[in-house]
């Protein structure tokens, strides 16, 4: 019995990891297609059937590229930081709340916060250890940005946790049975969306890898496998952020097809934002985090605490 259960969990997890990797592959394809149509061109449409197999050929090409050994770099750290970032972004996926065959976390949200805060270190170390001025600057910027958005992210999360009074992610779907939280807390959900854009270093806030000033930011010295792992980690964290947004704000009942359609809608929004908005300015980004989102999320936390107490009393 015990052995069979463990085997089933293992199988479910392997399927989950495969699903995440394939999902990331098709997310990159979606991104290239959508960006293409935004810029009135076609995007990849040759490989396979109308470009379906493009991500796989990209992956094979990327993994067979040449691995470089930058001189003066701290090689061991340089080698392992993309691996660690990929590990962390796969570990977050253990949180996906299913009724059976996967782990059910009682303190899932704390686990999520731990994993995202650990993700900062890999970016910082990747930037520092490759011994280039551009990558160091990109790493510093990424750390400051991710750190300051993490505060508002946790506080925004806190006010929706106050609604359900538990750290278990399963509870969200029970409490959103009749009404989605996005209707109760529209401003907070918008704040959550743009904070998660900043947390995953996506385009209006992509100061970690701003092409115009920092060539490619913290991952400039990475070539084949390291770059692929950084890329995979980034995109799977985008997918997880959109999953979390659907789970928290848009009625996360994940045994329906609509849940997954909503996830792909939110990740399409990530790409759409990349296609339309120009890059922000760095000091404005910091002001946005500390002077807008943090006071807003704290005040709303106060408000929802009052609401909770009023409802309970």
């Amino acid at each position: 019995m015990m052995l069979k259960d463990m085997l089933m969990i293992f199988l479910g997890l392997i399927i989950l990891i495969l699903g995440v990797l394939i999902g990331v592959a098709f997310l990159t394809l979606l991104e290239r297609k959508v960006l293409g149509y935004i810029q009135i061109r076609k995007g990849p449409n040759k490989v396979g059937f109308i470009g379906i197999l493009q991500p796989f050929s990209d992956a094979i090409k990327l993994f067979t590229k040449e691995q470089t050994y930058p001189s003066f770099s701290n090689y061991l750290v340089y080698y392992f930081s993309p691996v660690v970032s990929f590990i962390l972004s796969l570990m977050i996926w253990m949180l996906i709340p299913y009724y059976y065959n996967l782990i059910s976390f009682n303190l899932g949200i704390l686990f999520f916060l731990c994993c995202t805060s650990m993700g900062v270190y890999t970016v910082m170390v990747a930037g520092w250890s490759s011994n280039s001025n551009y990558s160091l600057l990109g790493g510093l910027r990424a750390v400051a940005q991710t750190i300051s958005y993490e505060v508002s992210l946790a506080l925004i999360l806190m006010s929706s946790i106050l609604m359900i009074m538990s750290f278990n992610m399963m509870k969200f779907m029970i409490y959103q049975n009749l009404i989605w939280f996005i209707i109760i807390m529209i401003p907070l959900s918008m704040c959550w969306f743009s904070s998660s854009l900043a947390e995953t270093n996506r385009t209006p806030y992509d100061f970690a890898e701003g092409e115009s000033e920092l060539v490619s930011g913290f991952n400039i010295e990475y070539s084949s496998g390291g770059f692929a792992l950084i890329f995979l980690a980034e995109y799977s964290s985008i997918l997880f952020m959109s999953l979390l947004m659907v789970l928290i704000y848009m009625g996360g009942y994940e045994l329906t097809l609509g849940f997954y359609l909503k996830i792909s809608l939110i990740s399409f929004l990530f790409i759409w934002v990349r296609g339309t908005l120009p890059r922000y300015r760095y000091d404005k980004l910091m002001y946005l985090a500390w002077k807008m989102y943090l006071p807003i999320s704290l005040n709303y936390l106060f408000f929802y605490l009052g609401l909770k107490i009023m409802m309970f009393y």
Binding site: L13, T64, Y69, I87, I147, M165, D283, K291, L305
Partner: protein
């Protein structure tokens, strides 16, 4: 817990194997001095990349530390809800969030949040 450990080991193995595979698969490789030097638009690197830390980033990190500790102190109010008296719970959490807000406004007032002076 045991299951989580096994799964973590599996994930660590998978990602290490991916990195290792890419090192094995990349056959075409050569290295010379120009190629391995840090990227700086084709020139030799002008200055060392181990530059000292900027003070702005340090100050942001200090503020982050304060707020992160406060967040770590906020989280237990969820679990405390079922353990303590309701009135005491609501008083404590109200006062805590008021103190947090006042602290934020105080820092804002003292120009700690400004990026450039």
């Amino acid at each position: 817990m045991i299951m989580m450990t096994y799964i973590s080991i599996l994930i660590i193995l998978i990602s290490n194997i991916m990195m290792f595979l890419s090192i094995i698969l990349s056959k075409k490789t050569f290295s010379d001095r120009e190629k391995n030097s840090p990227f700086e638009c084709g020139f030799d690197p002008k200055s060392s990349a181990r530059i000292p830390f900027s003070l702005h980033f340090f100050l942001i990190t200090v503020i982050f530390l304060i707020f992160d500790v406060e967040i770590a102190l906020i989280f237990p109010i969820i679990k405390l809800f079922k353990m303590t008296n309701f009135f005491i719970w609501s008083k404590i959490s109200f006062f805590f969030i008021i103190i947090l807000l006042m602290g934020l406004y105080h820092e804002w007032n003292q120009n700690m949040l400004n990026w450039t002076n």
